[in-house]
C-alpha cells in the first residue's frame, strides 16, 4: 500500500522535501500551492525594481517536478487541516494524507492595521513586486508632469518601513536608481533629489547582523541618499505619507518591509503556535504528538538549545525540507528519524552596485568582495540552469552598460470596456 504524502506550499522547504521523495517506491506525492510557481524570493526585490523580469526568478512547479512521476501538482488553496481524519480541505476537494508537510510560509503583516496595506504594499509575491514597481515608476511619471512643487516633493519621496535585508535592498535600489540611472530620462525633475527614508523601530537596522556590519551598511545607504531613521515607530500610514510619533513625512510611495506573520493554517489545527502564528515543531520537525505532520520553512518555529528560534531564511527552509523528506524515508524503512541540525550558511545583504555585507560565523566582510560573494551565491542557488544563464546575462549587461531592465508600468486593469453598459469608455482616447 502506497503512502500518500501531501505537501502544502512550493517554496524552498516544500520543493526540497518533494525532491527527496520524488521517484521513491511506495510513495505518492501531492503538492499544493496557491501559485503555479516556485519563487526565488531572495531576488524578489530585483523584480520590484525592474532589474529582473518575473520569469527570471520563478519557475512553474510542474516544470520543476515534471521528471518525478509520483508527484502530482495542484494549484489550489488549502483552507484547513483535519488532524483526526488526516484530511486537508482545499478550495476544490478534500484530500487524505498519510504524511502531511506544511510549508506555506509567512506573509507580511501590519501589526493589527491591515488598512495600511492599501498605502504600503509588502513584498512577498510577484504580484506585489509588480505593484511596487508600478507605484515607484508612476511616482516619477507624475512628478514629471505636475507643476505643483509641494506635490512634486511628495511624489519624489519614498519611505521604506522596516530595516531588515528586504528594506535595505529596496532602499538601496531606489537610491542607486535615482542617483545614477534616472537623471537623463526626465526634463522637468531632477531624480537625484529623490528623498528616501528607512524607518526602523529598533535601535539599528539589520538587527540580525553584527553591529559593525550594520553600521557599514548604514553608511553605504547614506552615500546613496537614503536617510536611516532608527528608534522610529510608525504610528499611522495614509495615502499621503507616514506618521512617526510627533513627526510626519509626506510621501506618495510607502513600502512595507516590517513585520511578518505565519499563514493562518496553524489556527485551523489544535497545535501550539508562537506569537506570530508559527507552528512549534519537535527536533525531527514534526508536530508534538503527531509524527505524521511535519512543518518546515518560515512556518516552523524550531527552537535552538539557547532558546532562540531559527530565522526565516532560504537555507533554513531548504535544509528543513530535505530533512523532512529523509525522515519520511527513514520511517518507511522502519528506522529511527534523525533530529534536525541547521548547518549555518551565514547571511548577506546587498545595498547597491559593488556594495554588500556578508557574515559567516565569525567571518565578516563588506564592499566589492562581499558583493561578488552575494552575486555568486545567488546565481548558484537559482532554480535552474536557464535561470542562472539569463540572470547572469542581465546582471552583466546592467553592470557594464549602466542600463537596467525595462521599467514598464503595466496596468492591472486589462479591459478597454470596464463598464460594458456604456458604448464608449474612459479608455477610448488611446490604445
Amino acid at each position: 500500500m502506497k503512502k500518500h504524502v501531501v505537501i502544502v506550499g512550493g517554496g524552498f522547504a516544500g520543493i526540497n522535501a518533494a525532491k527527496v521523495l520524488g521517484n521513491k517506491p511506495d510513495i505518492e506525492i501531492t503538492i499544493i500551492d496557491r501559485k503555479n510557481y516556485h519563487l526565488f524570493q531572495p531576488l524578489l526585490y530585483q523584480v520590484a525594481m525592474a532589474a529582473l523580469g518575473e520569469g527570471d526568478i520563478a519557475a512553474p512547479l510542474r516544470n520543476m517536478l515534471a521528471n518525478y512521476r509520483n508527484i502530482t501538482v495542484f494549484k489550489g488553496i488549502v483552507r484547513s487541516v483535519d488532524i483526526e481524519k488526516k484530511t486537508i480541505v482545499t478550495d476544490f476537494r478534500e484530500i487524505t494524507y498519510d504524511y502531511l508537510i506544511l510549508a506555506c510560509g509567512v506573509q507580511h503583516h501590519y501589526f493589527g492595521n491591515n488598512q495600511w496595506e492599501e498605502f504600503a504594499p509588502g513584498l512577498k509575491t510577484l504580484a506585489q513586486a509588480k505593484e511596487i514597481r508600478r507605484r515607484v515608476m508612476e511616482a516619477y511619471e507624475r512628478a514629471e508632469r505636475t507643476t505643483d512643487f509641494v506635490e512634486r516633493k511628495k511624489l519624489l519621496t519614498f519611505i521604506i518601513v522596516g530595516g531588515g535585508p528586504t528594506g535595505v535592498e529596496l532602499a538601496g535600489s531606489i537610491g542607486e536608481m535615482s542617483r545614477y540611472t534616472l537623471s537623463k530620462f526626465y526634463r522637468n525633475i531632477d531624480p537625484k533629489l529623490t528623498r528616501i527614508f528607512i524607518v526602523e523601530a529598533a535601535p539599528r537596522i539589520l538587527g540580525s547582523f553584527s553591529p559593525d556590519l550594520a553600521s557599514k551598511a548604514t553608511r553605504s545607504l547614506e552615500k546613496l541618499g537614503v536617510q536611516v531613521w532608527t528608534n522610529s515607530m510608525v504610528s499611522n500610514v495614509d495615502e499621503n505619507g507616514v506618521q512617526i510619533g510627533n513627526e510626519r513625512i509626506e510621501a506618495a510611495t510607502v513600502l512595507w518591509a516590517a513585520g511578518v506573520t505565519a499563514t493562518g493554517i496553524g489556527k485551523t489545527m489544535d497545535v501550539d503556535t508562537d506569537r506570530i502564528g508559527r507552528i512549534i515543531v519537535d527536533e525531527d520537525l514534526s508536530i508534538p504528538q503527531h509524527p505524521e505532520i511535519f512543518v518546515g520553512g518560515d512556518l516552523a518555529n524550531f527552537q535552538l538549545e539557547d532558546g532562540r528560534t531559527l530565522p526565516g531564511l532560504a537555507p533554513v527552509a531548504l535544509q528543513q525540507g530535505r530533512a523532512i523528506g529523509k525522515n519520511i524515508l527513514l520511517d518507511l524503512k522502519g528506522r529511527t528519524r534523525k533530529l534536525f541540525r541547521y548547518r549555518d550558511k551565514g547571511q548577506m545583504a546587498t545595498i547597491g552596485k559593488n556594495k554588500a555585507i556578508v557574515e559567516f560565523g565569525s567571518l565578516k566582510f563588506d564592499g566589492i568582495l562581499a558583493w561578488f560573494t552575494w552575486l555568486l551565491v545567488h546565481i548558484y542557488f537559482l532554480t535552474s540552469f536557464r535561470h542562472r544563464v539569463f540572470v547572469l546575462l542581465q546582471w552583466g549587461w546592467s553592470y557594464f552598460t549602466f542600463s537596467y531592465g525595462a521599467r514598464l508600468i503595466v496596468n492591472r486593469e486589462w479591459r478597454f470596456y470596464p463598464e460594458a453598459c456604456s458604448s464608449s469608455s474612459v479608455n477610448d482616447e488611446e490604445e
Copy 2:
C-alpha cells in the same frame, strides 16, 4: 520662436515622427502616451503565450528618446482636441501645439457587444497579454484538478474569434504548446486532447493574404490540432462558451482577435472619419483644411488610388511617422511637403515552429524558409540592441531545448488583506 510639436501616442508612427524631429533646431516636442512604454506589437502574442517576457518587447519611451534633448515625454491620457484653440485636453493639463500628430491607434471592439469583453479578452496591450496567459494556464490548472469530465472538456477547449494574423498566431501557439510541450507536466489530463477553434466570419482566414498561402496556413493549423471554422459568425459569447448561429461550443477560454475600432479621439474633433472611426487624411498625411494636424499609423485612413485604404501594419505606421516628421521639417524650411507613398514591405504570419507564410509582392513562400524570414525580420525591427540579443537568446534556447518561457500565473490582485476590516483574510492559508 520655437514650434511646439505635440505627438499623441508612442507606437510605431509616433516614435518615428519623434526621432525625425528630435534634436532639430527650433522645435520642442511633447509626446504623450497612456502607457510609459513603446510596445513591439507584432510579438505581443508571444508574451500572451509565455514565450517572451514583457520586457523583451517593450521599452520605456523615456529611455528610447532620452538622447533627444528637445523631447519631453508625459504619461497621460488625451481626452480631446480643440482644433480652433490649437489645444489638447489631457488628464493633467491643457497643452497648446503648433503641430499636432495623432498616432494613438486602434483598439479591439466587439461589434456593439462590449459585454463580451469579460469573457473574451483582446490582444492589444501588455495587460491583455498577461490576462490571456493567466486564462490559458489557469484553464489547464483547473482541468488537472477537476474530476468532472464535462467540466474538463470545457476547460480544455480554446476558441479564438477572428482568423487574421493575430488569431492564427494565437491558435498556432496553443496548438503547438498543447501537442508538444505540456504533456509531461500533467498527471490527470492529456493536454494533447486540447480542442482549439478559429471562428472566422469571412469565407477564409488570413483574408489579406493570397488564397493559396491562406490555404497552406489552414493546413498547418490543422496539423497542430486547430479546427478552422469559416463563414461562422459569432452570435453570442458568455462565460461558458460561444454561440455561432445554431451551433454552440462550450469553452472556458475565448480569445478575441476579430474587429478593431479607432480610438475615440477623432470623435472629439469635427473631422471626417470612416466606418471604424479612423481619421481620413490627405496625401501629405494631414487633415483636410488643417495642415497643422497630422494623423499616422492605424488611426489614419489613407486612401490609395484604387480606392483601398492602407492596412494597419507596423511598416505603414513606421513610414507614415517618418513622413510626417519630414513634412514638418519641410514646412519649417518653407519648402513644399512631400506626398506619402507607401513602400510595400509585404506581410507575414507565423503558425508554429518552422511554419510561416510570407507574401512580398508576387513573391510568396511558406515553410521553414518563411519561418526564418519571419524570425530575422522581427529580430531586425526590434526596438533596441538589447531587445534583439535577449529575444534571440530566448528563441534559440526554446528552439533547441523545446522548453518555453515561464508559464507563470501572476495574480492581478496583490493584496493579502483585501478587506481591511477583517482581521484574517481569505488569503490566510498560504503565502
